[in-house]
């Protein structure tokens, strides 16, 4: 009896996890499947295999332009928010500051503010100040939402930092700035890379703020949203989506590899 019950339990577990995995991945798998389908319409049955949409993608200048501004915006956003993340987290973890908790809560607050609200208020601010809408405006908005994430990731890396390593470096004749480059930076590097990759992804995916602020320089999500009105453009969008998924997969795998290497080091010391 007991054995049988165990058997039943196992089948239920197996069924549940299979359904869950299907639920997670079917919408994502739809993308590459239809990106190779020889039809404008996204409906079964599949018509036949084609790479036509990928070929169209390469020559579609406006989609390439949107991709380019997305990458540019994400790169600058990731660099800026990670840089400010490092110079924020460093004193927060190194010194005992008065009101450290309140400072952190203030930094983390934008995470819970809806992006729709942020987007609208940023639009108002940018317009009122007479600034230009476009890439730089989007970068400003994205840095605002990415910075708390950068701080959260870097905090976990910098917090476990053994102060005596830094003191040992000072003691061995390296001034503070050299100590930062020779000791703190290399040890924090995996965290810095992780922060960079996460903020890059957040900025690359972000729609609402980009929608309000990008104006004539749409980012990829904004551009794709605009193209949904034209069914003929849809398969190309699917092709691009598939490529992005493939690239994301590689990037995330790389980040995970870095993270594991770092935690392995931690265990051994």
């Amino acid at each position: 009896m007991i054995q049988q019950r165990g058997h039943v339990g196992r089948s239920i577990r197996l069924m549940f996890s299979s359904l869950y995995l299907l639920y997670l991945y079917i919408p994502i798998l739809i993308l590459p499947i239809f990106s190779f389908n020889d039809s404008f319409y996204i409906s079964f049955p599949l018509r036949g295999f084609t790479t036509q949409w990928y070929a169209e993608l390469v020559v579609d200048t406006s989609i390439i332009a949107a991709l380019k501004s997305s990458v540019q915006i994400a790169l600058v956003t990731a660099l800026v928010s990670t840089f400010f993340g490092v110079i924020t987290v460093r004193p927060l973890t190194r010194y005992r500051l008065r009101g450290e908790r309140s400072i952190l809560s203030m930094i983390m607050l934008p995470i819970i503010i809806p992006e729709l609200i942020l987007g609208i208020s940023l639009l108002v601010v940018v317009n009122e100040m007479g600034l230009m809408l476009g890439k730089w405006a989007v970068i400003t908005g994205h840095t605002l939402i990415c910075f708390p994430f950068a701080v959260a990731i870097l905090l976990s890396r910098f917090e476990g930092f053994d102060v005596s390593l830094e003191e040992a470096s000072l003691d061995l004749g390296e001034p503070p700035w050299q100590t930062f480059w020779r000791i703190i930076f290399p040890l924090a590097f995996p965290g810095i890379v992780a922060s960079f990759l996460l903020t890059f992804t957040i900025s690359f995916d972000e729609f609402l703020i980009a929608f309000f602020l990008s104006a004539s320089e749409p980012t990829l999500p904004v551009y794709l949203w605009g193209q949904l009105r034209f069914p003929k453009k849809l398969p190309s969008a699917l092709a691009l989506g598939s490529l992005i998924i493939a690239v994301s997969f590689v990037v995330v795998a790389f980040a995970e590899w870095l993270r594991r290497r770092q935690s392995l080091q931690k265990v051994n010391i």
């Binding site: 390593l165 003191e167 000072l170 001034p175 040890l187 010391i269």
Partner: protein, 369 residues
């Protein structure tokens, strides 16, 4: 000649953390080439003192001189001191050679000179061939040696060691004690060694500063610290000690003092305390190993009857708690077990005689518990 000159001098150094006084107006000198220990229980300020020397903390008041140079305003990276950290602080992203070479960058050495120095250091610490190892491949003792090498390779005027043996197991610690002492003699660098382990301090040091609550209680050689502690606190902290209540009876004109010691009766001391006057209540102390247990009366200067209340056999020695008439406290007595199977060995309840010489008794005027 040169060996007796002072290398490090502290003048009225005080360090506070908020309202907590970690170092309370300490003045002391450390001699060139000396193995100097700072000994005290945790929180006594010994590590803070080391960090002040290293420049990792700054004093609120007072001056620190190293080799005649005032260290005021000199940051850690410009001081002629190097430190071996309690946690070793080996850089995890550098291999053993790069760890040792880390502090050589500003010496303007060529690559081959640098490598030669690192190789020499590896040889000195007995880790030849370990240069390419990563820190996570080192045992505790090896990591400790690398930390030592990394500091010594810079040939500092003073090497500061913050409880460097604390994390090692007993056997390795004893081995490293001997090695460290030999190393100090061979390199001739002044060592300032922080420890809470009194045996470590006694066995390794040229001189010891016993610290408590941010102050230095006594600075002396290991023998003087043990045999002639200058206050009750030092006597209690170093080794075991029996304390007996005593009352001064008479101060003779020639300087001798007649003292009534609890349990021992009237004893004449040659030296008088500063505050000696008839009726002065104070303490007389004697180390457990300076008392001898016998089953017959001896003709020692002090010989009293007692009863063994408990005895513990420790292999090389035994410890007895003995009660004597007219004395409320039990006396602790240790004896070497030279031949316990054949000679007299007291057990619980045995009537024994305790003997000692007057010179083994120490007098303390301070009533510090």
């Amino acid at each position: 000649m040169n060996e007796q000159t002072d290398l490090v001098e502290l003048r009225n150094v005080t360090k506070k953390f908020d309202n907590y006084v970690a170092i309370d107006d300490i003045s002391l000198t450390i001699r060139r080439g000396e193995f100097f220990s700072l000994l005290g229980s945790s929180g006594c300020g010994k590590s803070t003192l080391l960090r002040l020397l290293a420049g990792l903390d700054w004093p609120n008041a007072g001056k620190i001189f190293v080799d005649g140079q005032n260290m005021h305003g000199v940051p850690a990276h410009n001081r002629p001191c190097n430190m071996v950290f309690q946690s070793y602080a080996i850089f995890p992203h550098l291999n053993v050679s790069d760890n040792i070479a880390y502090g050589l960058r500003r010496f303007g050495l060529s690559k081959s000179e640098k490598r030669k120095r690192v190789e020499e250091m590896l040889f000195t610490i007995g880790l030849e061939g370990f240069g390419n190892r990563n820190p996570d491949q080192l045992s505790g003792g090896q990591a400790q040696r690398v930390a030592l090498a990394r500091a010594l390779v810079r040939q500092p005027k003073v090497l500061l060691l913050d409880e460097p043996l604390g994390a090692l197991d007993k056997t390795l610690r004893e081995q490293m004690q001997v090695e460290l002492r030999q190393l100090q003699r061979s390199v001739g660098i002044t060592f300032v060694f922080v420890t809470h382990d009194q045996e470590e301090a006694l066995s390794m040091s040229d001189r010891i500063a016993v610290m408590s609550a941010g102050r230095v209680l006594q600075i002396a050689t290991p023998v003087d610290i043990y045999e002639r502690p200058n206050c009750v606190a030092v006597a209690k902290f170093i080794g075991d000690m029996n304390f007996l209540v005593a009352i001064t009876e008479r101060v003779k004109t020639a300087g001798q003092v007649l003292v009534n010691v609890e349990g021992f009766g009237e004893i004449e001391f040659d030296e008088r305390l500063e505050s000696d006057r008839p009726g002065l209540s104070h303490h007389v102390a004697i180390r457990p190993e300076k008392l001898t247990v016998t089953n017959e009366r001896t003709d020692a200067e002090i010989c009293v009857r007692g009863t063994v209340e408990s005895s513990s056999y420790w292999g090389d020695q035994s410890q007895f708690q003995v009660s004597i008439d007219g004395c409320e406290t039990l006396l602790m007595v240790t004896a070497h077990n030279l031949d316990p199977l054949r000679s007299y060995y007291p057990v619980r309840g045995s009537q024994v005689w305790l003997s000692a010489n007057n010179s083994a008794l120490l007098r303390f005027s301070d009533s510090e518990n």
